[in-house]
């Protein structure tokens, strides 16, 4: 965990009092809605279909139990008793009253949580691997760099009014759980031939109306230079990014229009002119940040404790363990994913009571730490293996032990028409229907890893382009239709899915998905071949045929 010090706390409190003043001026009419809009967005406040929506940052997805309890409290006291974990390591509350927001922010600030820059045309919450610091084989804990970047991008005096929003994601593992290739800047921590740690820098990825996979702009930037290099990219973007058309204002369009080589030359020239700047990170500064991350005092534990051997006789436990428990870098420990995807539930929702209970379990079994992943699930990052059976029982009672992580019912979905003013179609009810269709765990197990992603409109908040199966809501003559893509992925081999044919009406979506899955089961050349790999091998044609032959 990163411990905020007096300086961090002071800054957050100063932000809260500034926002309190801004809300007061809005309520008195001193600020117009147009002026206030920018200010509230910088604090994560949207005006949605039914109410204000409030988005709170969970930097690099790490939460303490105390912080999670405070989020539960906010859900209870200021909202309707639940929150919605998003694909951006944020949590959203859908029913907040504007006049109460400053109080909610002040309560969050007490535990080192803020909503700065979770929205608006600035540098958004820096995201990272939810298994950072515990995943076996990672180069180093990417959160140290995420935190350095979090600080640097917070209230940046040059880049708080960019052409458009700006998202940075960091991974330090071979397997990319942070989806860096669909971010404005993706950073991959690795070591060069001399054993020095630095970043491969990718730029210009993103989904939405015009999806792009990020391109490598520099294979290696030394850690000490990462701030100046990012600053150079942002300065070029701030000056040359399009401002005439919001659909073309993201950095991906600038990179695309200039071409990556020309864009890279501009950035290099800017970087060269910055010279050896105040942004160069001293070794001792990096170490200072590193020193404020604390790690649990792990015990020396056996690889295979008796408790686990015994519990293995219970097939229900085994099913859950195989699905939700991942290896940890320390022997005797594991990383446990908590599925927020129960059958029939809205993906990513957690009630205040669940949050409180998870905080208690984290205290008991995970050194008080919780993680939030972009798949809209939570994780307990340091669970002793001997505690797994007990933990499982407790999670099961809370409805958080659905053994479907990475399976067909582990669906990522945006709020869609149920909450979002931009939506063309519903997302959540589609997800709910699909979790019912595939509720049988044996079937889901047999199908294997398969990611379904749903967005209610072209903005792609549900990452539909990179779903193994992507579902996008569109509107046709006032009715909800859905375009289906297949073969997308968001990992280290990220790519966009391919459209299989004409959009289908709401009532047919679940059937179509079932058809696609059945086609896959018939077409895969062995049970281990994943759905995406079958699509890669065969293309969309056989799936298209199966879906449209009878429609």
């Amino acid at each position: 965990m990163y411990a905020y010090d007096e300086l961090d706390r002071t800054l957050i409190n100063e932000r809260v009092s500034e926002f309190r003043d801004q809300v007061k001026r809005r309520l008195s009419g001193e600020l117009t809605e147009d002026e206030f809009k920018m200010l509230r967005l910088q604090n994560g406040v949207y005006l949605q279909l039914h109410a204000y929506m409030f988005r709170v940052a969970i930097p690099y997805g790490t939460l303490s139990s105390k912080q999670l309890r405070r989020l539960a409290h906010v859900a209870r006291r200021y909202d309707r008793g639940y929150g919605h974990f998003t694909t951006r390591q944020n949590i959203q509350f859908n029913w907040i009253k504007l006049a109460e927001l400053p109080d909610a922010l002040a309560e969050l600030a007490e535990v080192g949580i803020h909503a700065m820059q979770t929205s608006g045309n600035n540098m958004r919450n820096v995201t990272s691997d939810q298994w950072a610091g515990v995943a076996p084989g990672e180069v180093e804990d990417p959160r140290i760099w995420s935190e350095i970047l979090r600080q640097h991008t917070t209230l940046h005096p040059e880049f708080s009014f960019l052409p458009r929003k700006f998202k940075i994601a960091i991974t330090a593992s071979e397997h990319d759980r942070a989806a860096i290739k669909i971010h404005d800047i993706g950073l991959r921590l690795h070591k060069n031939a001399d054993g020095e740690t630095g970043f491969e820098v990718l730029v210009g990825g993103g989904l939405g109306r015009t999806p792009f996979i990020a391109k490598t702009i520099k294979p290696f930037v030394h850690g000490r230079d990462i701030l100046s290099y990012v600053e150079a990219i942002l300065r070029v973007y701030n000056q040359y990014g399009r401002r005439d058309n919001i659909y073309k204002a993201r950095i991906k369009i600038l990179v695309h229009e200039l071409g990556i080589e020309k864009f890279a030359r501009e950035v290099d020239e800017e970087w060269r002119q910055m010279g050896h700047s105040a942004l160069t990170l001293d070794h001792s500064v990096i170490e200072e940040v590193r020193s404020r991350f604390s790690y649990p005092a792990y015990e020396k534990l056996p690889h295979m404790p008796d408790e686990l051997k015994q519990a293995a006789h219970d097939p229900l436990f085994e099913r859950w363990r195989k699905n939700s428990v991942a290896p940890h870098k320390v022997q005797g420990y594991s990383i446990v994913t908590l599925s927020l995807k129960p059958v029939g539930g809205p993906p990513g929702d957690a009630t205040a009571d669940q949050m409180d209970a998870i905080a208690d379990l984290a205290d008991k079994y995970s050194f008080g730490e919780i993680r939030v992943g972009h798949e809209q699930n939570l994780a307990l990052p340091h669970v002793a293996k001997r505690d797994l059976p007990q933990l499982w029982k407790a999670l099961d009672r809370l409805g958080l032990a659905t053994p479907n992580v990475n399976l067909v019912t582990d669906i990522i979905a945006c709020p869609g028409l149920d909450y979002c003013s931009l939506a063309n179609a519903r997302s959540i009810p589609i997800a709910q229907e699909l979790t019912r269709r595939f509720a049988n765990h044996d079937t889901a197990d047999m199908i294997g890893r398969l990611h379904i992603n749903i967005s209610g409109c072209i903005n792609a908040c549900g990452h539909h382009h990179v779903g193994h199966i992507g579902i996008l809501g569109v509107e046709k003559n006032g009715e909800e239709f859905y375009q289906i893509t297949i073969g997308g992925r968001a990992d280290e081999n990220a790519q966009m899915g391919v459209l299989i044919g004409p959009a289908v009406p709401y009532a047919e979506v679940a059937d179509v998905i079932e058809d696609i899955v059945e086609a896959y089961l018939a077409l895969r050349d062995r049970p281990e071949e994943l759905f995406v790999d079958t699509v890669k091998r065969l293309g969309v044609e056989p799936f298209k045929e199966r879906v449209y032959a009878t429609r």
Binding site: L7, D8, E14, Q151, L155, P157, F161, R243
Partner: protein, 171 residues
């Protein structure tokens, strides 16, 4: 539109000369970049200070040769959402060493004062009277800064390092 300079509301000594209007023989003037670039040397020879309003869509490089003879550069925020002038300000101050008046014009609201002053602005044509009056209080809103800029304020990272040093020295 009130002008805040050096932290106080002051009278604007610069006369905005409209496009096409004749330049007065002396006195401080603020003119457009296009007009200035037509014949910079002649304009700079005038008796009286020269200030240039530089558009945010044009690289400041073209202004650099004249910086040491300019009394003011006015940068433009056509809307508060358009932040190009922040980059221009930092480039003028930090890269090109400009030390004359750097003025923010256009949609200038109190909520941007901290950002603007950190980026190097020291004069503000403020849109609303109430905002101008609140300048002193709003510009002091923050006491902690994460990024190093030309304003020379010590960043949080560096303050922590200093704290560490003084702690270990005291032991």
């Amino acid at each position: 539109m009130p002008l805040v300079k050096n932290g106080r509301i002051t009278t604007d000594l610069f006369v905005h000369v409209a496009e096409g209007a004749e330049l007065p023989g002396d006195g401080a003037v603020l003119i457009s970049a296009a007009r200035f670039l037509e014949d910079p040397e002649a304009i700079l020879k005038r008796a009286g200070k020269t200030g240039v309003i530089w558009p945010n869509s044009r690289a400041v490089d073209d202004l650099v040769p004249y910086l040491d003879r300019l009394a003011a550069v006015a940068l433009v925020f056509p809307t508060f959402r358009d932040g190009r002038a922040y980059s221009q300000a930092r480039l003028l101050r930090e890269r090109h060493g400009y030390d004359g008046e750097l003025r923010a014009t256009g949609q200038v609201l109190r909520d941007q004062f901290v950002f603007m002053s950190r980026a190097g602005f020291d004069a503000f044509e403020v849109k609303k009277d109430a905002d101008a009056e609140a300048f002193a209080e709003t510009v002091k809103r923050y006491s902690v800064f994460y990024q190093p800029t030309g304003d020379g304020r010590v960043t949080a990272l560096n303050r922590r390092m200093q704290l560490r040093h003084s702690e270990s020295a005291g032991q």
